[in-house]
Amino acid sequence: MAPLTRRRLLGLGAGGALATAVAGCASPGAVSVNKAPALPAAAPGETVTLTYWSWVKDLQKVLDIWNAKQPHIQVKATWIPSGNEGGYQKLHAALAAGGGPDIAQIEMMAVPEYLLQNGLVDLSRYGADKMAHNYDKALWRQVSFNGGVYGIPQDSGPMGFFHQPGLLDRVGGRPPRTWAEWAELAAEIRRLGSRHYLDSFAVSDGSVFTGLAAQAGAVWFRTAGDEWVVDMTDDKTLNVARFFDEAVDDDLVNVSSELFSPAWYAAAAEGRIVGATCGSWGDALVQEVSGGAGKWRVAPLPVWGKEGFGSAHHGGSTAAVLANSAHPAEALAFIEWLTSTPEGIDAEIEHLGIGWSPARHYIGAKRREPSEWFGGQRYNEEVFARAVTQTNPDWTWSPLTKLTSDALANGFRKKLTSGQSFVDSVAQAQSTVVRAFRDKGLRVREGKQ
């Protein structure tokens, strides 16, 4: 062993030196780019090339339409895996290395996460405020923090109730208008067979629950000066939790297969699942139910009674300008075209099958036509165009959205494994989230104190 010691020492020494070198590096994003002077637009006649990282396929086809008309602002698409499936990891790593694209697709709920890294450009410094009137108010609220605008809404998902009227007819039912009616109808459907359910509740995905809490009027995250206020255990949220506790206890709702999982598709195709509570983008996924053509319709989301709202946003993404971009002004000009002009929106719908249009006055030409698959229903105009005007205008996301969603899902799973109630899980999630805020070095307090 003795002869090895020297080499080992050398190795350890080198390792230690490298570790010191790494520790000595300044943390990237330690200083906000938004504290620096705004970058000027390119000189007239100069050609600017922008990069755009996104997980939608065929984005380049849409960019080509813009590129053909704007020779001086050329945009190139690079595909990344969707959100937390790997795309965000790439973006975070690129930002940490001091690079990254000019524009990136970032989900509405993930925007504040990037602010923790000082990774996004405040677009209000480049004139985004003047665009606000074109966009859905609730969505604009979700990208606005600290008086700045950190992303432009690109699509969203007002929630509705996808269902098979033929199966409802078998119990003489109609689409439920309230959640109370939903529970009654669910009980009726259970009589059709031991594996028949009206709807599903995902214990492994907190996003639908979050949407429904927002619909009930909850606002989980607020800011007060430099401090975050977390309020997940308000009465509205707990009512929603209690409602689904009872639904699961009474075996009214399918909890064994997640929405749009292989098992769910199998059950839906066999007529054992009647409906799905989901954002408008669910239309494309519902259409993959084999043999489902003509059998499905869309109804408005059931409501929580007199309080609360008609619908909620489920998912949705933004086009954000990243901190290391050299041309934020040009990037914003392109994003405005993409997300608020009929030409941009129609191209996105045709080539990308993007979610609900974020523009206040234009849902897309294709979406005004009746849908053959949904039995000729004009569901976009009938259901979602109205739903999008009835969402919770005060809802905002926090820098810990992913952790919040996981904390909820980890707790919700225990409903099936150890019978822990959703009400308890929400309370546990709140304390997990509050602790995580502190671990991130942020100031936070609980709303109910």
């Binding site: 002869p3 090895l4 020297r6 080499r7 190795g11 080198a14 390792g15 230690g16 490298l18 570790a19 790494v22 520790a23 943390s27 994003g29 330690a30 200083v31 906000s32 938004n34 504290k35 937390n84 990891q89 975070h92 504040p112 996460e113 602010l115 923790l116 890294q117 000082n118 923090f145 600290n146 995902a202 214990v203 492994s204 800011t223 430099d226 975050w228 064994s256 297969s257 997640e258 999982s261 292989p262 098992a263 199998a266 059950a267 066999e270 820098p399 810990l400 992913k402 952790l403 996981d406 899902a409 980890n410 799973r413 099936l416 494994t417 995580a436 671990d439 991130k440 070095g441 942020l442």
Partner: protein
């Protein structure tokens, strides 16, 4: 070669022995040493950058924490030394410790089953009466060629209700099976892991079996030993190092369980983000950007794997020593 390379630098300091022959030899040695270092350089460079540096960074990172000014850190972000905070946090959450308990339970059941299974397969294929051993060796080894992610997707088609023919058949005869439930999914994962790695471990054992000299078998047969007696008294003791090696690999592999639960989480509501230690570290690092905490968890996983492997080797070493003495 390693002894020459490591010894020479020490010699350099000592005065060279008198006489021309000695000087020539040391010059030659020095040349050899330089050559060795030059040849080693590519390996060392890659080793340092992909192994030593990441480990040193992870250990360093596990002792850091971040503080922010403003709502998000727009007024400034600082990285500071955190002492043992990340380790305390990793161990106090509960979920991380539970995940260790889960993989240990998994290991206690799955590793012995797989090792016994692969040893039996190896002995059968290397026995004199085996038919088409080459074919079966390849067939058993084939699952190892299927990446863990793909294997899990394939198996999930046999696990998911509504798709699985197994569940349909069981349903016909009135048995309600649930491969993805809270109590059963761990064993469904164990099944995938066993399916994947039994053939691989079998090959390790077969390699050792092939190195047993033919004379030993002849001597045993002359002494009147049958096939079972040969397997029990000759083959099993002699393949012990290979079986031990396979066991250590399996223990480490068990602690690093990751791809199977990650993929199966899509189908099974019972798998959460802290289902296995590696999954917990992955989630903290890449979903929450909590690199300090994730590094602390990774260091803990490595330590536990080290301790368990070392304990196993110590235990097997101790039991095998008296035998060796007896043989001498």
């Amino acid at each position: 070669m390693s002894t020459t390379t490591t010894r020479t630098p020490e010699r350099r300091g000592t005065p060279a022995p008198a006489g021309g022959a000695g000087r020539a030899r040391s010059g030659q040695q020095r040349k050899q040493t330089t050559a060795a270092w030059v040849l080693l350089a590519p390996f060392l460079a890659v080793f340092a950058f992909t192994f030593v540096l990441p480990i040193a960074t992870a250990v360093g990172q596990s002792f850091t924490t971040t503080t922010r000014q403003g709502l998000f850190g727009e007024e400034g972000i600082q990285v500071a030394f955190a002492g043992w905070d990340n380790y305390v946090q990793a161990l106090s959450g509960g979920g991380f410790l539970t995940s260790f308990g889960r993989v240990l339970l998994f290991g206690i059941v799955q590793v012995p089953v797989m090792i016994a299974f692969c040893t039996v397969l190896a002995l059968l294929l290397e026995s004199a009466s085996a038919k088409c051993p080459q074919f079966f060796r390849t067939a058993y080894f084939l699952p190892y060629g299927v990446p863990g992610v793909i294997a899990t997707i394939l198996w999930s088609f046999l696990y998911v209700p509504g798709l699985s023919p197994l569940l349909d058949v069981a349903g016909l005869v009135g048995i309600e099976l649930d491969f993805l439930g809270a109590d059963s999914v761990l064993w469904s994962i164990a099944n995938i892991v066993t399916w994947t790695y039994t053939g691989y471990n079998m090959l390790i054992v077969i390699a050792q079996l092939k190195s047993i000299p033919g004379e030993i078998y002849e001597a045993a047969r002359v002494d009147g030993a049958g096939a079972f007696r040969i397997a029990w008294s000759i083959q099993l003791p002699l393949i012990r190092p290979a079986v031990n090696l396979a066991t250590v690999f399996s223990i480490i592999g068990t602690l690093q369980l990751f791809a199977e639960p990650l993929v199966l989480a899509n189908a099974s509501p019972a798998i959460d983000t802290e289902y296995t230690p590696n999954l917990a570290a992955y989630t903290n690092a890449f979903a929450y950007n909590e690199y300090g905490l994730a590094s602390a968890q990774a260091v803990l996983i490595a330590l536990v794997a080290f301790v368990l492997s070392f304990a196993f080797m110590l235990a097997t070493h101790r039991t095998s020593r008296p035998e060796r003495k007896a043989r001498k």
